[in-house]
Amino acid sequence: MQVETFLDHLKAGADRPAIVSDEGRFTYAELCRQIDVYAQTLAAQSVSDCCVLLVDNYSFNSVCLLFALWRRNNVVALSVPKSAEQLANLANAAGARFTVTGNGPQGFSVLANDNAGLPSTVEGLVSRRQAGFIVFSSGSTGPAKGVVHEAAPFFERYLKAEQCGAILAFLLFDHIGGLVTVLQALATHGTLVLPNERSPQEVGRCIETFKVQTLHVSPTLLNLATITGVFQTWDTGSLQRIYYGSEPSSSEAIQRIARTLPQVRLNQLYGMSEIGVLPCRGLDGDSAWMTVDDPAYSLRVVDGILQVRGATNMLGYLTGPGELSDDGYLITQDLAEERDGYFRVSGRAVDVINVGGKKVFPSHVESVLMGIDNVSDVVVYGQPNPLLGQIVAARFTLVEPESLEVFKPRLYAAIRDVLAAEQLPRLISVSDTPLFTSRFKKMRHPGVLSGS
């Protein structure tokens, strides 16, 4: 499907609200008009048929710019504002000929980049004059990687997506989850609600103010919102559905939400930058077991690792094709189990802790530790150890201040009969600072955690 067909579908939204925020309320007709204006301006500046770095946060303006760039057959690398040096690095890595920066409601500026050599994964799209996009993985466990996608399969996928009504754009503009939130909202003629900032209280304010019906957030954000009383402070009666995903979920944290919001349907999703977000159906309610009904996707578990082949699989990384099976499945490096057509993800293979030859899954230990009184969040990670290879370390944030001398005995008394010896965290610390990234994903990088 071409961009024009998708834009024609947006036009049919007419006077329905497409995007709302404190900035204003914009209809589909206004959205399409602004896309037209920007597309003409971009054409006049020859910003067509090439790779472009788009730098912006969510706004009516940035969504219009994204579609206008696609309309001019560009491959759009997405970034939120960063330092000039970081942006130059991203532009060079993507082979971006231009950097387009949104300037609030006034418009945008264009900066030419002469140094860009086009990576082969991007060149294929540009030579076929196909719209595409590049998202940079969060880099929470290493350096960021640029993931290249063709846009058309995403247009087709989201025209068939379920209605979401008013959906909050919580995940960031440069995140695959953030991008598909935009596509799902607009393709189903729903309303994209833009928050002023990414914080649990702002989520509550937006739900009340804009009558948000659907949330798509990370489990970490859901947990924070629950323990900070967001769902009690604000009127969240409009909420019907919460999509959560983007990291192995703590079942204890999800059960807290289910108890707090019994009327809301909780829907776990599975997605990553490399494959988009799959249309998942849970085995029951808030179960971690999921299946994908869409025949456009095939999933299988090989040697304990989930493999996915589907319409929205990436074309490749900026640096190469990625890890594929001989028959074209992406090897996700997510540990998974399969049962009767359903699968359950237990974490990243790279995160598994090897304690003297015994494997420990951080997500399992975290789900037990989250059940301890006064724990607001916890990250479990492997600490190198000369005797055992690695030992389990746990870094906590607490609801109320409690000294380590008091907390540790209480913790050990609660878990000694629940966890096996190798699963018990031997290194315990309490943090004053949050344990998650700006994308509300848990920080598992041992250097970040143990050094803090």
Partner: protein
């Protein structure tokens, strides 16, 4: 300092009782076996004792000691065999860490 280190190591050993079905037997004082041929604890508990001792040393003396790395010791050394050998080993590493810190300061 020796007595202080002994108290601190013993408290790190005692701390493991929270995780064990039976407390570690220290009735033989410094001769109480820990990890080795006659030892009563497993490798996980030994690692816990080491981590907790390192933490207490850091907290009390402001020194970083790395007890699990025994690569510099002679092959016949048994630093974790008894409470006494562990205390002596901790004293030795603490003295090295303090001397290293002073040398750096100079």
């Amino acid at each position: 300092m020796l007595n202080e280190v002994k108290t601190l190591v013993e408290s790190a050993v005692r701390q493991q009782d929270l995780l064990l079905s039976e407390p570690i037997d220290l009735s033989r004082g410094e001769d109480s076996p820990l990890y080795g041929v006659e030892g009563t604890i497993d490798s996980m508990t030994l690692v816990s004792i080491i981590v907790d001792t390192e933490e207490k040393i850091r907290h009390r003396f402001g020194a970083e000691v790395h007890l699990a790395d025994t690569s510099h010791l002679p092959a016949t050394a048994t630093p974790f065999a008894t409470l006494g050998t562990l205390c002596a080993y901790v004293m030795d590493r603490l003295a090295s860490a303090v001397a290293g810190g002073e040398a750096q300061a100079i």
